[in-house]
Amino acid sequence: MSTALARTAAEEALGFQLPNRRMEDWRWTDLRQLIDKPYPPRQKVEATPADVERLLASSLFSGVAATRMVFVNGEYDAKHSRQANAFVESTAELSDPVNLMNLAFATDGARLRIEGNVDTPIELVFISTDAAARTVATRNVIEIADDASATIIETHLGEGSYLASSVMEIRIGHNARLDRIKVELESHDAVHLAHAHVVVGRNVTFRDFTLTTGARLNRQNGTFRFIGEFADAKVAGAYLLAGKQHADTALIVDHEVPNCASRELFKCVMDDHARGIFQGKVIVRRGAQKTDGKQSSHALLLSETAEFDAKPELEIYADDVACGHGATSGDLNHDHVFYLKSRGIPEAEAKALLIAAFVGEAFDTVHHDGIRTALEDFAARWLSDHRRKG
């Protein structure tokens, strides 16, 4: 359906029509309205090493031994990288608006091929430095060879006002393992539009965790395709949102073959006027028998003006499957708070303990102890900083 809407200034600058609420997947995240200023693409911005180093230091994983690959303002930064690009090709055909925009504007991106067991985590750091508002786009392709295993962190950081566009195309070979940890720690004045497209091979173990906490506006799409039997995927996420932050995650888990298991677990904390959305669709194709697919999203609303919307969907064309979904939304349980207080724990501390316990369940998807501890520490800091402000 073509729309007769006049282009907004933001759309003029991009040369693209932005998704709007008339599109079912975008009903809660109308980019036409929410992106209210131009972010021109392909702007060359130089950064000083001092700026880069300062931002690098704010990665949650500075204390975790990792091989880094750094991208600054959309370009590979050899000086701060310990990992070079490989030759892997993009093969995904993706036609949704986030992808098309990224395809048009991406200036660079990580190209990685993992063979064998890589024990040291690899951290991909995407930095946007403070400059005039613009679009910064990277397109990344990661290939995990058959029988290989790796832990890959994605850290998105920045200062100032920008639109970060990130597409991550991941192919996981047979009998391989991938732990992916993404931290969206963008500037509070940033827009983050991302897509992760993951193809999961036979007998794969895949664990995916995303922390969403930085940008004022975040939209993350994920498509996870099972193309080989006996694979197991866990996709988890946590939101820590306050102020007027808006985050929308839209996932499609596509069981194309039998005997695979998928678990999605999202724990979302929203305070002030923050708004969180979780859209999860599980598709079980014809013949994909013995699929075990479950998704759940849980929201903790810390203020009366915070909001959470969930849209779980199951699309099942096989008859011997175990699939389900659940979504809950509410404030802190008063009985829990009273019980902790009755043992001498002051109210603020009791609440922080309960909130940490709430999001902690999603952190359990992360198996690397150092990475999980860094995430837990960040959550504790977020809660206490946030409380001080409130």
């Binding site: 008063h334 009985d335 829990h336 009273f338 019980y339 902790l340 207080k341 009755s342 043992r343 001498g344 724990i345 002051p346 109210e347 501390e349 009791a350 303990l353 309960l354 940490a356 316990a357 709430f358 902690g360 369940e361």
Partner: protein, 253 residues
């Protein structure tokens, strides 16, 4: 000095007009064990919640003084730090918070509120291990989230463990015997008796006399329709067991 003075207390639910506690007075001195017995609906649990500071209740008349201070003015955590402990009839499950962590945060919060030094991790571990062993609380239970997946007996033992670690000066046991078989009851009662001391008092709230065979009270009070209608020594409990509550509840009407 009296530890606790409840004077002509009237309490109602915030969103209802009817008083549940209607002119209750009770004085508790250090070292004493008071049993409060009464039929369902007599106000036993309300009394325990009001003393612990749970929201949803409104005191319309009377006063409660604890260690010379107005208890009703304090928040639940302040009451706990001052020495009030309620062992819940239905202990609350707290997913995601390990029992050990919970005990440590609670103990150190109380110590901090009292201006005492926080306990180091090794000292704390020693304290908990010692108390847990006496109550048959396993290391596994301590690692699990607070009360989550605990059996009825485990929950009650966990409550008494918290009491043993926090060392309150006033222990309120709300129907601690409910849901316990005789073996579990004995373990819990032994745990409570081990905490009896000249400067600690207890209020044991129960429907049945059975618990009082194990935790022998100095005083027994019969609660009916929000008021203490009769007080006596431990023999009163036996009398109640024989005759039932009818005699007392009728006289209160």
């Amino acid at each position: 000095m009296n530890l606790l003075d409840i004077n002509n207390l009237h309490v109602k639910l915030e969103d209802e007009d009817r008083d549940i506690i209607r002119g209750l007075s009770l004085t508790v001195k250090p070292g004493e064990v008071h049993a409060i017995m009464g039929p369902n609906g007599s106000g036993k649990s309300t009394l325990s919640y009001v003393l612990a500071g749970r929201a949803g209740y409104e005191v319309t008349e009377g006063s409660v003084t604890f260690k010379g201070e107005d208890l009703l003015e304090m928040s639940p955590d302040e009451r706990a730090a001052k020495g009030v402990f309620l062992a819940f009839q239905y202990p609350i499950e707290i997913p995601g918070v390990a029992t050990m962590q919970f005990l440590k945060v609670a103990l150190n919060a109380q110590r901090k509120a009292r201006g005492e030094k926080e306990l180091s991790t090794p000292d704390f571990m020693r304290l908990v291990k010692d108390r847990a062993a006496k109550l048959n609380v396993s290391q596994d239970m301590l690692k699990r989230p607070v009360n989550v997946g605990f059996s009825g007996g485990e929950k009650k033992r966990a409550e008494i463990l918290q009491m043993a670690v926090l060392e309150p000066s006033l222990c309120i046991l709300d129907e601690t015997d409910s849901g316990l078989d005789i073996d579990a009851l004995r373990v819990v009662a032994d745990g409570v008796n081990a905490l009896r001391s000249p400067d600690r008092a207890m209020i044991v709230i129960t429907h049945y006399q059975r618990l009082l065979d194990y935790i022998v009270p100095d005083f027994v009070h019969v609660l009916s329709k929000g008021r203490i209608v009769k007080s006596g020594d431990k023999h009163l409990a036996l009398e109640l067991e024989e005759k039932g509550y009818a005699e007392f509840t009728e006289s209160a009407a």
